[in-house]
Amino acid sequence: MKSTFSLIVLIWLGIGLWTTSCGPKKTSPDQSTDLTGPGQSAVADDESQKHVVQVAVGSPDHSTLVAAVQAAGLVDVLVNAGPFTVFAPTNDAFNALPAGTVDNLLKPENKGQLQDILEYHVFVGVISENMILDGRKLNQVNLKDVTLGNKDGVLMVNDANILGSVRASNGIVHVIDKVLLPQ
C-alpha cells in the first residue's frame, strides 16, 4: 500500500511540475480595449465620384436632410455600396411641415420615427429618370410603397415633384419638394 502511495505521489508531483512549472504565460485578451473603428463613411477618398451622402452634403438646399440622416444614424448605411435611389426633400420641404415637427423628430427619443420617415425616402436599386413610369410602385427601405408619377414628362413620387436628379457613385438622388410621410 505504502509503495502504491509513493508511486501516486511521484506521478502527481510530476504532473504538478508539468502543468505549473511554465508559469502563467497566457493572459486573456484585454477586454477593455475596443478595437471597433468608425464606419465606411470615414474612408478617406477624394477621387471617387461622390456618393449619395456627399451629394446631399454638397447641396445647401439639403442641410436639414443631412442633419436628419446624421441624427438617425444612417450615414454609414447610405455610404454603403447600395445602390440607392434617394428622394431628397429640400430645406423648404422640411420647413413646410407643421411648426416644431422637424425639431421634434431630431430628438433622440424619436430616433425610430425619424428613421422610419427617412427610410421611406430610400429605395435599394437605381431608378434613373428614364425608369420612372407612371404608377410604378417602389417598396422602400421601411417596407412601405411609394408610387411614381410621370405625367407628360413631369416626374413625381407620391404627391412630391421631382425637381432634378443627380447621379452618385452608389445610386441616384432625386430632389423633391415635399417630405414623404409613410401612411
Binding site: 510530476g14 511540475l17 512549472s21 511554465c22 471617387s48 465620384q49 456618393h51 447600395g82 437605381v126 428614364n130
Partner: protein, 657 residues
C-alpha cells in the same frame, strides 16, 4: 523491495523525469514566441503595415503582396501564370501578355524580385520578376500592382540569374542557368555529349527606359557554365555586375555528382560600361533571334504582343576586358553586394565557409594582370588577390546574404537551417538563429540596396512539415520574421506563403501607398469597344463575329437580354465597368464558357470570347458581389441554330431597346 516494486518505482521516477524535462520545453521545435513578440507584429484592425513585401511565388508564377510585420497577404499578383481570380490570361486584353516565341505559355516559375532603384535606393516605380522556365522578364507597375510588360529572352534557357538591376535601373539582367547550343537550326541540333564544344551561356542586359519599357541592349555569349544568381555593383562598383556560376566542370548528366568535382567555380565580373563602349564603337553583331515583347497600353488596358527578330551579341573572348572570372569555392549560389558596393559575398552552397571579395582588390588584380590562368579564353583573377577574407565555420550550405544598415550581413544556411549574422568588415560571426526549416532566400527591407532599413529580416523556407495545421501531402511554404534591430536576432512571427517564395523585396509602405490607383478614369478609356454611357451599349454582327458592347454598373448589365446569336458564332463580350468608385469591380461569366471569367475594374473594358456550341438560353451574371442587388445583376442570351433567322436584338428593360 522485490524486483517488481523496484521496476515500478523506476518507471514512475522515469515518468517524473520525463515530465519535468519536457514541462518547460517548447512543445514543438521552435515555438519560442514569448514576451512582446505578438505586439511587435500586431497591426490593429484598420491600421496599415509598415512595409509592402513583394514576394515571388516560384512555381505558381505570381508575386504576392504581403504586409510586414503582420505577414498578411493583400494580393496575389499574376505575372507569368493565368489567374482565374481576375481573368488574367483569360481576357482577350491580357492573353497577349503570355505570348512567347513558343506561343501562349500560361505558366512559369518566378524566382526573384527586383524593385526599381534610383541612386541605389528603392524608388517604388516598378517590380521586376523573372520567368525561369521559358526565359522572360516581367515588369509590374507599383501604382496599379499589375503586370504591364513581359519581354522574352532569346538564346537563353533557365533564366534563373535574373532580374537583378543596376543602381539607377539602367538595366535588368537575364542569364542562363542552362547553357545550350545557339545559332541556326542546324547549329542547335547537336548531340548532347558535344556540350563542351557547342553549348554556350548568355548574359542579357535589358535596357529599361525612363517610362519602364524594356529592350535587350546586348547579350554576352559566355563559356558553357550554369549562371545562378547576380547582383549589380553600386557606389564605387557601379558599372560592374557580378554573377555566380557553377558547373564549370561542364557536366551535362548527373550534375548532382559531376558538377561538384572542382573545389572552386566562379563569380563572373562583368564590366557593362566597357560593353557599352564596344557597342558605341560599332562592335558586336546583330544575330537572328525570335522573341516576344508584350506591353500593355495604359489607355486601352490592352496588351499587344510583338515578335522581334534580332539581338545584338558581344563575344567577350574577342572583346577583351568585359568579363573576368573570380574563383569561388564549391558551386556558388548567392552572389551579393554589400550596401557600400565594396564587397561581394559568394556563397558556395557546398562549402562551410563564406568568401568575401573586395571590389578594390579585384580591380587591382585586373590592373596588375594578377591572373591564375584562363577559363575558356577568359582571364581568371587569382583567388587570394581578390579576397577580402573568409567567414570561417559560418554554417553548412550557405545560400544568400542580405545586409542591414550597420555593416552586418545575414547569410542563410540551407543545410543547417539557420541564419547567421556576421560583420562585413571583421568577418566575425555575431549571432545565429534557427529557421523552420531549410531556409532559402532572406530579405531585409531594402537589404539589396544602398540603404537597407535593417529593422526586420524574413527567412523564406523550403520545408514546412509540422509548422502549421497539416493539409495533406501538399503543404504551404513557411516564412519567419525576425527582429534584427538589436544585437541578437529575435523570432517574431511565422507565416505561410503562396506558391514557393524565392527572393522577395520590401519597401516602406509610405513610398507607394499614396500613389496606388483607386480606379481608372472612364474619360481616359480609349478601348475601341468601350461603352462610356449605358445608352451606347449595343450588339453588332460582323460575319460570324458578334461584338457585344456591354456596360456594367450597380446593379445591371446593358444590354441584359440578347437574341440573334447562332451556334458557331464567335461572341465577344466587351464589358466596360462604368463605376467611378473605389473598390467596385464587376465580374462577368457566361454558362459554358471554356475560358474563364472577367473581373473588370472601374473605368476599364475587358473582353471575354465565347463560342456557343448548343442551342438554348444562356444566363450570364456578375461574379463579384458588387452591391445589395448583386444577385439581380444577370442577363440572358439566346442561342439559335446555325441557320436561324432570329434577328439580332438587345434590350435592357425599357431603358435600352
Amino acid at each position: 523491495m522485490n524486483n517488481k516494486l523496484i521496476f515500478k518505482y523506476a518507471g514512475a521516477f522515469l515518468l517524473f523525469i520525463i515530465m519535468a524535462q519536457f514541462s518547460c520545453k517548447p512543445t514543438a521545435p521552435g515555438s519560442v514566441s514569448t514576451g512582446d513578440a505578438a505586439t511587435r507584429v500586431y497591426v490593429p484592425p484598420g491600421q496599415h503595415d509598415e512595409f509592402y513585401n513583394i514576394v515571388s511565388g516560384g512555381f505558381n508564377g505570381q508575386m504576392s503582396v504581403v504586409g510586414l510585420p503582420s505577414g498578411r497577404v493583400f494580393k496575389i499578383l499574376p505575372v507569368f501564370s493565368v489567374h482565374p481570380e481576375n481573368g488574367y490570361g483569360y481576357s482577350e486584353e491580357s492573353k497577349p501578355m503570355l505570348n512567347t516565341s513558343h506561343g501562349f505559355v500560361p505558366w512559369d516559375d518566378l524566382h526573384h524580385i527586383a524593385i526599381s532603384t534610383t541612386n541605389g535606393v528603392h524608388d517604388g516605380r516598378w517590380a521586376f520578376g523573372n520567368a525561369n522556365n521559358t526565359p522572360r522578364i516581367a515588369r509590374v507597375d507599383l501604382s496599379t500592382f499589375k503586370t504591364v510588360e513581359i519581354l522574352e529572352i532569346p538564346n537563353s534557357a533557365g533564366n534563373h540569374s535574373s532580374p537583378f538591376i543596376t543602381e539607377n535601373t539602367e538595366y535588368v539582367v537575364a542569364s542562363s542557368r542552362f547553357s545550350v547550343p545557339l545559332g541556326s537550326e542546324q547549329d542547335r541540333d547537336v548531340p548532347i555529349d558535344t556540350y563542351k564544344e557547342n553549348f554556350k551561356g548568355t548574359v542579357s542586359f535589358v535596357k529599361v527606359s525612363d517610362e519602364g519599357e524594356m529592350s535587350i541592349a546586348f547579350q554576352l555569349v559566355t563559356p558553357g557554365v550554369n549562371f545562378d544568381l547576380a547582383r549589380a555593383g553600386k557606389g564605387p562598383s557601379h558599372g560592374w555586375f557580378f554573377f555566380s556560376c557553377y558547373n564549370t566542370e561542364q557536366a551535362y548528366s548527373l550534375l548532382e555528382v559531376n558538377a561538384s568535382q572542382r573545389d572552386k567555380d566562379f563569380i563572373m565580373a562583368v564590366n557593362w560600361k566597357k560593353a557599352e563602349e564596344y557597342i558605341a564603337a560599332g562592335k558586336g553583331k546583330m544575330v537572328k533571334a525570335k522573341y516576344a515583347h508584350n506591353k500593355e497600353d495604359k489607355r486601352t488596358h490592352t496588351t499587344t504582343s510583338t515578335i522581334l527578330e534580332e539581338v545584338l551579341q558581344l563575344d567577350p573572348k574577342e572583346l577583351k576586358d568585359i568579363i573576368y572570372f573570380i574563383p569561388c569555392p564549391k558551386s556558388p549560389h548567392g552572389c551579393d553586394v554589400d550596401p557600400t558596393g565594396r564587397f561581394i559575398v559568394g556563397s558556395g552552397k557546398l562549402a562551410a565557409l563564406v568568401p568575401v571579395f573586395s571590389f578594390e582588390k579585384i580591380m587591382k588584380a585586373i590592373d596588375d594582370g594578377d591572373f591564375e590562368g584562363e577559363y575558356d579564353g577568359i582571364p581568371v583573377v587569382r583567388y587570394e588577390s581578390a579576397l577580402h577574407g573568409v567567414v570561417e565555420k559560418a554554417g553548412l550550405g550557405p545560400l544568400h546574404t542580405e545586409f542591414d544598415n550597420n555593416g552586418n550581413a545575414y547569410t542563410s544556411f540551407f543545410v543547417s537551417s539557420e541564419v547567421v549574422k556576421w560583420n562585413v568588415n571583421t568577418l566575425e560571426v555575431l549571432d545565429r538563429v534557427p529557421t523552420y526549416y531549410s531556409v532559402g532566400h532572406l530579405m531585409v527591407p531594402g537589404g539589396a540596396t544602398a540603404a537597407p532599413h535593417g529593422k526586420y529580416l524574413v527567412a523564406y523556407n523550403k520545408i514546412t512539415k509540422d509548422r502549421y495545421l497539416p493539409t495533406g501531402p501538399e503543404l504551404c511554404h513557411s516564412a519567419q520574421l525576425y527582429d534584427i534591430s538589436g544585437d541578437k536576432m529575435r523570432l517574431l512571427l511565422d507565416f505561410p506563403t503562396i506558391g514557393e517564395p524565392h527572393y522577395a523585396e520590401a519597401i516602406p509602405a509610405s513610398m507607394i501607398k499614396d500613389q496606388s490607383v483607386k480606379f481608372y478614369r472612364i474619360e481616359d478609356n480609349e478601348h475601341p469597344y468601350a461603352v462610356k454611357r449605358e445608352m451606347d451599349a449595343k450588339v453588332e454582327r460582323n460575319g460570324n463575329q458578334v461584338h457585344v458592347y456591354m456596360s456594367s454598373i450597380r446593379s445591371h448589365f446593358a444590354p441584359d437580354n440578347i437574341e440573334g446569336v447562332r451556334v458557331g458564332d464567335e461572341v465577344y463580350f466587351h464589358v466596360t465597368n462604368l463605376e467611378q468608385d473605389w473598390d467596385v469591380p464587376h465580374g462577368f461569366a457566361i454558362k459554358g464558357a471554356n475560358t474563364g471569367e472577367l473581373l473588370i475594374m472601374p473605368g476599364e473594358t475587358q473582353t471575354l470570347k465565347w463560342k456557343p456550341e448548343k442551342v438554348g438560353i444562356y444566363p450570364f451574371y456578375c461574379t463579384d458581389f458588387c452591391s445589395a442587388l448583386h444577385q439581380e445583376m444577370q442577363g440572358y442570351l439566346r442561342v439559335s441554330p446555325a441557320n436561324s433567322n432570329v434577328p439580332l436584338k438587345f434590350t435592357l428593360d425599357m431603358i435600352l431597346q
